[in-house]
C-alpha cells in the first residue's frame, strides 16, 4: 500500500524576479548574521549565466555532489560509498575552501579619523574577518551580479560550458535572468545520506531537512554531499548549518522570511504529497532526462479519494489534506506543469521548483521590433530562440528541451490571452489550445502568477500536531551572542546551544539598547545607529 508523505515545497516564478536580493538580505538578518557564518547565504540570488555561489558549484565532476548510478545501476553518492566516506574523514578531499565562497571582511573605520593629515581623503581599508589581516577584496557572494565581470566570467558558467562553444559568443546578448536559490529540501537528500553522525535528517511531518546541532560532529561530509552547496560549515562552532525553511515560522503558518519579504511576490509555498516507497526507484531511472517525469510520478493528487484514504492511513492530518488540495505548488507543478525542478540530474529529487522565465524571449522579440506579446510571435520565438531554451533545459530538465518549451508555451499563451482581454478584444480559445490549456486553466494560472494573492501564494497548514510541553524552547537567558554564557570552557563552540528565539531576542535587544559597542570593528551594513563604534567619530573634547 502506498506510504504517503507530505512535504512543504516551494515554487519560484523566475519571470518576476528582478534580482533585488531582498530575500537574501532578510534571510541573512534572520538566520546568519552571526560570527562564523559571515559567508553563509541560506538564500542567494545568482545571475544566470554566471558562476553561482560558491563559484562553479554546478560542476559536479569537480565537487562530486549528489547521487549517481553505479555500474549495477544502484544509487550511490557521487563522492563515494559509506566506506570511502569514512576513509576520507580525516581530511575531506573535495570540500570548497573559504576562497571558493569568498573571504568575509569588514572595514577599518578607525583609519577615517586616525589617518595623518594628507592631500587625499582617508579610506576605511578592508580587513579580513577570517584572519584579521588587511586584504584586497577580490570576490564576494555576488561579484558577477548582472553579468558583472563580462563574458569572461559568464562563459565559465558550468551550464554554458555544457551547452557548448557555439553559444558562447552571442550568449551574453541573448538573455540574462536571476535564479534565487535556497536549500532544495530534497526528497532524496544527499547531504543527509553523507552525514556520518546521522545528525542531518528529513522531518517526516513536513519534509524539511535540518541539522541536529547537538549531534553534528563537524565531519563536513554534508558540504560535499550537497550538489547545490547549500549546507555550510560554521567555522566558529565547527558545525554544519543550512536553510531551515524557516521552520519556526512555517510551523505556525507563516511563510518563510525569503517568501514573506519577496517584493516580486514570486514565491509560492504549499503542501505536496508523495509516495515515499517509490523514491529510490524514481531516483534510479537510468536516463537523466527521465528524472523530471520520474519525480512527477511520485507526486500524488490530494483530490483522489484513494490517495486521501492512503494519506489518512499514513497519519496525515485532515487539515494537511485540505491544505494539499489548495496547494499552489501542486497546481504549478502538476496541474499546469509550468514549474520545473532545479538540476534533477543530481538525483536528489529537489523540492524547490522554478517557473522558467519567458521574459528573455519577450525581450528578444521586442528588441527586434516585433510584438513581444503576440501569440504567434511568441510561439515562433520559443521554437527559434534555441539558446535560452537550451540553457533553461540544462538547468531544469537535464538538457531535455521539451518540458521547458511546453512550459514557456503555456506562459506565452497566458500572456497573449490576457493581453487580448486587457485590450478589450475577443478572447481566442485557440491560443490556449495551442499550449494545451483551457480557458479555466489560463484563468487559474493568471490568478496564481499575475494576481498572486498572499493567501493563494502561501497555503501552509497551521496546526502541526501540538506536543504539550515540548514546544517551548528551553535555554539560559545569559547565552546570547556576546553574553556571559556564550563561550563555554572548551572554546567558542562549547556550552549548551542557544534556542534561536532567545538568541535573536537578546542580540537584537542588546544591539538596540546598548550604548557601547562590543565589537572593535562594526560592519556598517549591520550597524543600526545605536552605540558609537570606537574611531568612527572624532572624540568629543571637553570644553
Amino acid at each position: 500500500m502506498t506510504r504517503v508523505m507530505a512535504q512543504i515545497a516551494m515554487v519560484m516564478n523566475l519571470d518576476k524576479c528582478i534580482g533585488c536580493h531582498t530575500c537574501s538580505v532578510t534571510c541573512k538578518q534572520a538566520w546568519t548574521n552571526r560570527s562564523g557564518v559571515e559567508y553563509v547565504w541560506f538564500n542567494n540570488v545568482e545571475t544566470r549565466p554566471g558562476l553561482g555561489y560558491p563559484r562553479r558549484y554546478q560542476d559536479q565532476e569537480k565537487w562530486k555532489g549528489g547521487w549517481e548510478l553505479d555500474r549495477k545501476g544502484r544509487l550511490t553518492l557521487k563522492s563515494g560509498g559509506r566506506l570511502r566516506r569514512l576513509l576520507s574523514i580525516f581530511a575531506n578531499p573535495i570540500m570548497p575552501s573559504i576562497q571558493d565562497y569568498y573571504e568575509p571582511w569588514t572595514y577599518d573605520y578607525e583609519n577615517l579619523t586616525s589617518a595623518p593629515l594628507s592631500a587625499d581623503t582617508p579610506v576605511a581599508p578592508p580587513r579580513s574577518l577570517i584572519s584579521n589581516e588587511p586584504m584586497a577584496v577580490r570576490w564576494s557572494a555576488n561579484w558577477d551580479d548582472d553579468l558583472g565581470g563580462g563574458p569572461a566570467l559568464a562563459s565559465r558558467d558550468p551550464v554554458v560550458e555544457r551547452i557548448g562553444d557555439r553559444v558562447r559568443l552571442d550568449f551574453e546578448n541573448a538573455f540574462m535572468f536571476y535564479l534565487p536559490r535556497i536549500c532544495e529540501h530534497c526528497i532524496n537528500p544527499a547531504c543527509v545520506a553523507a552525514c556520518p553522525s546521522g545528525a542531518m535528517y528529513k522531518r517526516s511531518e513536513d519534509g524539511i531537512v535540518l541539522v541536529d546541532q547537538d549531534r553534528c560532529r563537524g565531519w563536513r561530509m554534508c558540504v560535499t554531499g550537497c550538489p547545490y552547496k547549500k549546507v555550510y560549515f560554521n567555522h566558529k562552532t565547527g558545525k554544519a548549518e543550512k536553510c531551515t525553511f524557516c521552520y519556526p515560522r512555517v510551523e505556525v503558518g507563516l511563510p518563510t522570511v525569503c517568501s514573506e519579504t519577496c517584493v516580486g511576490r514570486l514565491r509560492y509555498l504549499g503542501v505536496i504529497l508523495y509516495d515515499a516507497d517509490r523514491v529510490t526507484e524514481a531516483a534510479s531511472v537510468p536516463d537523466d532526462r527521465d528524472l523530471y517525469e520520474a519525480q512527477l510520478s511520485l507526486f500524488l493528487d490530494p483530490r483522489d479519494p484513494e490517495v486521501a484514504e492512503a494519506a489518512a492511513r499514513s497519519g496525515i492530518p485532515d487539515d494537511w489534506m485540505a491544505a494539499a488540495r489548495r496547494s499552489p505548488v501542486h497546481d504549478l507543478i502538476m496541474k499546469y506543469r509550468i514549474a520545473l525542478p532545479l538540476h534533477p540530474e543530481y538525483r536528489t529529487m529537489p523540492m524547490v521548483w522554478y517557473v522558467p522565465p519567458l521574459s528573455p524571449v519577450v525581450d528578444a522579440l521586442a528588441g527586434s521590433g516585433h510584438d513581444g506579446e503576440d501569440a504567434g510571435n511568441l510561439f515562433g520565438a520559443i521554437e527559434t530562440l534555441r539558446i535560452p531554451v537550451e540553457y533553461l533545459a540544462e538547468l531544469f530538465t537535464a538538457g531535455d528541451p521539451a518540458p521547458v518549451t511546453a512550459s514557456l508555451r503555456r506562459l506565452a499563451a497566458m500572456r497573449a490571452h490576457m493581453r487580448r482581454i486587457n485590450l478589450g478584444e475577443e478572447p481566442d480559445p485557440s491560443i490556449g489550445a495551442r499550449a494545451g490549456l483551457t480557458g479555466d486553466d489560463i484563468d487559474g494560472m493568471y490568478r496564481l502568477l499575475a494576481l498572486a494573492r498572499y493567501d493563494e501564494r502561501y497555503v501552509i497548514p497551521t496546526a502541526y500536531a501540538a506536543q504539550p510541553g515540548s514546544v517551548e524552547e528551553i535555554g539560559c537567558s545569559l547565552d546570547y551572542d556576546g553574553g556571559p554564557g556564550m563561550t563555554g570552557p572548551f572554546g567558542e563552540a562549547s556550552g549548551q546551544p542557544v534556542p534561536v528565539a532567545i538568541e535573536t531576542f537578546h542580540s537584537l535587544k542588546q544591539r538596540q539598547t546598548s550604548e557601547d559597542v562590543t565589537h572593535e570593528r562594526v560592519n556598517l551594513l549591520n550597524w543600526d545607529g545605536k552605540g558609537v563604534p570606537k574611531g568612527m567619530f572624532p572624540e568629543k573634547e571637553d570644553r
Binding site: L77, R82, L83, R85, L86, I89, F90, A91, P93, M95, S97, I98, I130, S131, N132, N188, P189, V192, A193, C195, P196, S197, G198, Y201, K202, R203, S204, E205, L210, D212, Q213, D214, R215, C216, R217, G218, W219, R220, F233, H235, K236, T237, G238, K239, A465, Q467, S470, V471, I474, C476, G488, P489, F490, G491, E492, A493, S494, G495, Q496, P497
Partner: protein, 241 residues
C-alpha cells in the same frame, strides 16, 4: 612499595578511568554542542590534507599496537609459535613506522596551526595545553621504542602488560610495573594524563567516531514530536526545570 608508587600505579589508573568515564558522561549531558572536531579545513586544506590523515591513520595503528601488546598475554603469542624476539621485531617495525607517521603528522599539523593565521586564531589555550600533552605522550612512546631498539629490548609484556590487564580485573599489580624501566613509566604516566584529558579537550571527538554510518540507511527521517528520537529536544537538566 612507597606511597608514590601506590599513587602512580594503583590510584592513578582508576582516577584516570573515573575522570574519563565521568567526564564523557558529563560532557554528553551538558555539552553535546561542543562535541565536535572543530575542523579548520575551511581555512586551510593543503597542509591538512597531508598532515591529518598521516597523523590519524598513524595513530590508529599505534592504538592497535598498544591493544595488541597490552591485552594479549605473552603466553598466547608463544602458543601460536611466535617467539619473543620475532614479536619484538614486528612490534618495533610496525610500531616504529606508525609512531614516526604519527609524529610527522602532528608536527605538520602543529606547524600549520602556528603559521596559518586563521587556524592559529581558532586555537584556544585548551588546545595548546592538549597539544603539549599529546606530543609528550607520542615522544615518550617513541623513546621507549627507540631505546629498546638501540639497547637491550625490555620485555614489557612481563611488566607493563600484566599491570594494565590487572587494572581492569581490579587487581593492579604495581610490583610488575615497578620493574619496568623509567621510560615506560614516563610514557604510562603521560598516557594516563592524556586519557584523563580526553573529555575536556577537542580530543573528545574520538568518541564520536561514526561507525554506525556503515550500518544505517542512507536517509534519516525524524519526527518533529513523537518517536524514540524526537526532533524537538527534551528539556535539559538545569535550574529552569
Amino acid at each position: 612499595m612507597s606511597w608514590t608508587e601506590i599513587a602512580f600505579w594503583v590510584v592513578a589508573p582508576y582516577l584516570t578511568l573515573v575522570i574519563l568515564v565521568g567526564g564523557l558522561m558529563w560532557r554528553h549531558r551538558y555539552d553535546k554542542f561542543g562535541w565536535t572536531t572543530r575542523s579548520s579545513e575551511l581555512y586551510e586544506s593543503r597542509l591538512l590534507r597531508i598532515g591529518s590523515p598521516l597523523f590519524h591513520f598513524g595513530l590508529l595503528f599505534v592504538i592497535l599496537g598498544h591493544l595488541f601488546g597490552l591485552v594479549i598475554p605473552e603466553s598466547w603469542t608463544g602458543a601460536i609459535g611466535m617467539s619473543e624476539s620475532l614479536y619484538h621485531v614486528i612490534a618495533l617495525v610496525v610500531g616504529g613506522v606508525a609512531g614516526v607517521c604519527t609524529l610527522a603528522g602532528i608536527a605538520l599539523l602543529i606547524y600549520r596551526r602556528r603559521t596559518r593565521g586563521p587556524v592559529f586564531m581558532a586555537t584556544t589555550r585548551n588546545d595548546k595545553m592538549m597539544y603539549v600533552v599529546l606530543v609528550a605522550a607520542i615522544l615518550a612512546g617513541l623513546m621507549t621504542t627507540l631505546l629498546s631498539a638501540a639497547f637491550q629490548a625490555h620485555d614489557y609484556r612481563q611488566t607493563v602488560s600484566p599491570w594494565f590487564r590487572g587494572v581492569f580485573v581490579l587487581q593492579p599489580d604495581a610490583g610488575a610495573m615497578i620493574r619496568a624501566p623509567w621510560t615506560f613509566k614516563l610514557h604510562t604516566l603521560v598516557g594516563m594524563l592524556l586519557i584523563a584529558l580526553f573529555p575536556f579537550t577537542r580530543l573528545v571527538h574520538a568518541f564520536a567516531a561514526p561507525v554506525g554510518y556503515l550500518f544505517r540507511p542512507y536517509v534519516v527521517y525524524r519526527s518533529r514530536g513523537a518517536g524514540d528520537r524526537p526532533a524537538v529536544r527534551a528539556p535539559r537538566p538545569g535550574w529552569d526545570r
